[in-house]
Symmetry: C2
Subunit: 323 residues, 2 copies
């Protein structure tokens, strides 16, 4: 048995340490290097350069070592280093550090005062934990489960415990889906051909929705607002629906020879793909607005909601056309 | 327009630099700190301690600074640091560093000779790129697409280009699914109730398979072999199938009142969940064995293959029982 891992905390400030070297812009680099000796720092890879408590730059130890004699901290520091607010979500914080190619990330308050530094080891741990957690949540595990942990060591009983909750939600959804199909019993009896295309429409709408969910979830994780994605996504979803309908309609007519059913399949695909794109944007945004991980919006709950909608759209369209 | 990002290289050695400080175990720490000055290193956060070219330890700059006067490198170094072979996959390499809580990772050859060090910035970039790539591939984008990039800036035409290939594969699968349902036309005509449960069985088997895929893909990424997961996963999948069948059978009978159909749904769920678990392990393993990213085994191709199998299993079971 191994102990439960320490929970990974969620905002930037909780990963920051202020046991790091702090210098002033006019400090001499060589004197600074001497002054560091004999101190115990959590991280000394990056030196915070502050003026009256306000962060004005960061200097890596590599820059200090390479500086010509007589340089000041102000001359070797990066004057526009990656900084985040204390309550920045941890994944956005890690993202900010990577995109500036800095090993550490400074946390500053609204007034620019230096609150602490997130050392590279913490950033690495955060990114790894976020990746693992995203995959576990998308895969249909309880929110606290780690996919990597389960893969390497979890016992059968814990595996069941982490998975069954979402599967029973799924079972309820599945029974509801049977009820929705069943409510079109008369139409299906009259034209059994209609039943053939239920899984096809459900699968394709789900595939289109999953692509949009992936973008929206990723965008929300790294700080791209849904609004900035929305217009292009709706256009893309509509075009995809048109293209799929334009191929699926003729193919259905060519194989099964029923023009009404072929029209129904094409129109339902167009509608279902459009709806799937919108739902795929709304669900992660809703989870995010409720301060939950948006990745739940591309998990098993989202799939079952999406599937129910697709079945309803297809069978409504089909009965309207085929009569 | 922005330039295409530099492709992230795939193995440990390609991320390593040998522009790092190297010391001998009996070097004096204080003299070492003096000797570092005036040099330009790619990374000086970690000092490699070698004896005749063979790595014997790593020492962080924090340990050097905190060392009492007169200490030697051998006394302050971590004598069991995280090391990887040159051709270790980049994600496993990053994983190794995080689990030892070290900011850098040494790359050594078979004889233990020091080849280079992967600095923390590179490890961060690797983890972020792997995360993004995994999500894009699972979401049904072309292998070269980045979900984060698409979310933040990709134009509609490029979005379509990155998504349509998998959707047209999916469309072919969807038409095949219609054909499979159609091959049971007589049975469906005779008992239209059978058609109600097609989406239910497909959804649940897919949900069960997705959970296993998530574990297998994650396991393969971080170095847990499929064999070590297999036995527990098959037992888990079987138990899940039994539990779902034990609930779905009675519920189906209670709502729709047909004992034969209820039995067919229960047995098909059991069989489909079992098969889904096995397929979910085999597909990522196959991709991995072909030296492709195992995450393809939980993408749209895997889903369509899984769905076809589930439809076949359900309708075969149903026609065998209902006649």
């Amino acid at each position: 048995m191994t102990a439960e891992p320490e929970p990974i905390l969620r905002t930037a400030i909780e990963h920051a340490t202020n046991s790091v070297p702090i210098a002033r812009p006019d400090d001499d680099v060589s004197a600074m290097l001497d002054a560091l000796r004999g101190h115990r720092f959590d991280s000394a890879a990056v030196i915070a350069v502050c003026r009256d408590g306000v962060l004005v730059g960061l200097a890596t130890v590599e820059r200090l070592l390479a500086a010509p004699p007589g340089s000041t901290m102000g001359e070797v520091m990066d004057t526009d280093p990656p900084v985040v607010a204390p309550h920045t979500h941890q994944e956005r914080a890690a993202w900010a550090a990577v995109h500036r190619d800095e090993p550490g990330l400074a946390v500053v308050d609204d007034a620019g005062r230096f609150l602490g530094l997130i050392p590279p080891q913490r950033l690495l741990a955060v990114l790894l934990a976020e990746h693992d957690e995203d995959l576990a949540r998308m895969g249909g595990f309880l929110g606290t489960a780690s996919a990597a942990k389960a893969a390497s060591e979890e016992r059968v009983t814990r595996r069941l415990w982490h998975r069954l909750p979402w599967l029973f939600v799924g079972l309820a959804g599945a029974m509801l889906a049977a009820g929705v199909v069943g409510s079109f019993e008369e139409a299906l009896r009259a034209n059994v051909l209609l039943a053939f295309f239920v899984p096809a429409v459900v699968y394709l709408a789900d595939a289109v929705g999953t692509q949009t969910e992936t973008l929206v979830v990723r965008g929300l994780s790294v700080g791209v607002p849904v609004g900035r994605i929305a217009v292009r996504e709706v256009i893309t979803g509509g075009l995809i629906g048109l293209l799929l309908a334009a191929v699926a309609g003729p193919v259905t007519f060519w194989i099964w020879g029923d023009a009404e059913v072929a029209t129904a399949v094409a129109l339902a695909l167009l509608a279902a793909c459009g709806v799937a794109t919108v739902v795929a944007m709304v669900l992660p945004w809703l989870f995010s607005a409720m301060r939950l991980d948006p990745v739940y919006g591309s998990g098993p709950l989202a799939t079952v909601a999406q599937d129910l909608l697709s079945i309803l759209i297809y069978l409504e369209t089909a009965t309207a056309i085929v009569g």
